[in-house]
Subunit: 197 residues, 2 copies
DNA sequence: CCCGTTCCGTAACAGTTGTTACCGTAGCAG
DNA sequence: CTGCTACGGTAACAACTGTTACGGAACGGG
């Protein structure tokens, strides 16, 4: 039984290439040949690792979400109080530190693709619901006396603000620099800061 | 000199078709033949009205922005006080009333295209700067005593929130229904409401 | 009524897309 | 070292992309 391969490793490599191509050339540049070239192989390997392009995109989307979830878990675990965890997780979503708007561009690309593909749309929904549930849990820990209604409103407002800044910064980095984004997040978290009424 | 045509009317018709295709089939479905079919003509007319596909996209983008600017002007003029104007203009950007998330989908599509095309990116930037200037002017009218720094932070936070809700609602309408979006906007406008400190 | 010009649908073009079939080759079993 | 097999690169495929060239037709002027 000669020559065995690590299929999962290949898929992760290819998904990584998908992110890079998406960040650099955008959605119209996301072609199988571009992904293969970025991954240092040919389309032959791509089509042996995935049955079709769509499967590659879904895998890349899932892996992206899984990694952000891991980072969010880590950020949450590293925080002492719920407010710190909330600020850390939301600050992570702003994503300015690691890649210079790279991840935001990838996020926008997947979102635009999701508007045309129902499977990608569902992945987006479950990922967003999961993120919403995380934020809601942390907000509830900060303000246990709040009603469900207020909890939901605050949660979705925070997520909306963060994702909006993310998207706008991806398209116009100069207008939404990192410090401003952080200040905006801090201001939005004002009423949740411990010690406030 | 026989048979004259109204070129500008043709271009507007085609731009309208671009929006419809973009809203329905997303960015990958935005092909010249799809636009022509939606407009009730063939690619021949499209290529006679525009020198290339890119010119069509730029025209559609410009026209879209021009129309939203007109609506924003009207909403602003119909309001009495600056706070009402601010709420009206931002509520207009949430866009729930007219098309069911249609315009949001178009907006996301153009944004994703802008990440891959520098000309579209510049259009987006000038449109967003114009919108930011409008909001900032209205915020300044509500709170004349604020510093420039606070003005900018509040302006971009409001715009970020509105666009974020817009984008998230486009991808997951059930999770971000119209009433919730309006409540979120109202809450964010809380500190600007007249009569508050 | 007829002509001339402008307009636009038709159809072909070259290039690229996702996908498929094929075969050379690299690596382990014997 | 030899042979077999799974792997993956090559190249062809059909479908589709934006774009171009051409010819028929519809309309206003004489």
């Amino acid at each position: 039984m000669p020559k065995q391969r690590d299929v999962q490793a290949q898929r992760e490599l290819l998904s990584n290439a998908v992110w890079q191509v998406l960040a650099e050339d955008g959605l119209p540049g996301l072609t199988l040949r571009a992904v293969a070239e970025r991954a240092g192989c040919t389309t032959g390997l791509v089509m042996h690792a995935f049955p079709a392009k769509k499967a590659l995109l879904l895998h890349a989307r899932d892996l992206l979400y899984a990694r952000t979830a891991v980072r969010a878990d880590a950020a949450e675990a590293a925080s002492r109080d719920p407010f710190g965890a909330l600020a850390a997780v939301l600050g992570l979503a702003l994503d300015l530190p690691h890649g210079h708007h790279e991840e935001s561009r990838v996020w926008v690309g997947f979102l635009a693709a999701a508007l045309a593909d129902e499977d990608l749309a569902e992945r987006h929904r479950v990922a967003n619901h999961s993120f919403l549930a995380r934020i809601r849990r942390l907000v509830a820990a900060c303000r246990p006396e709040w009603t469900d209604e207020r909890l939901e409103l605050t949660t979705k407002s925070l997520v909306g603000l963060v994702e909006g800044l993310n998207v706008l910064a991806a398209a116009d980095p100069a207008a939404y620099p990192a410090p401003l984004q952080r200040q905006a997040l801090a201001a939005a978290l004002g009423e949740l800061r411990p010690g406030r009424s």
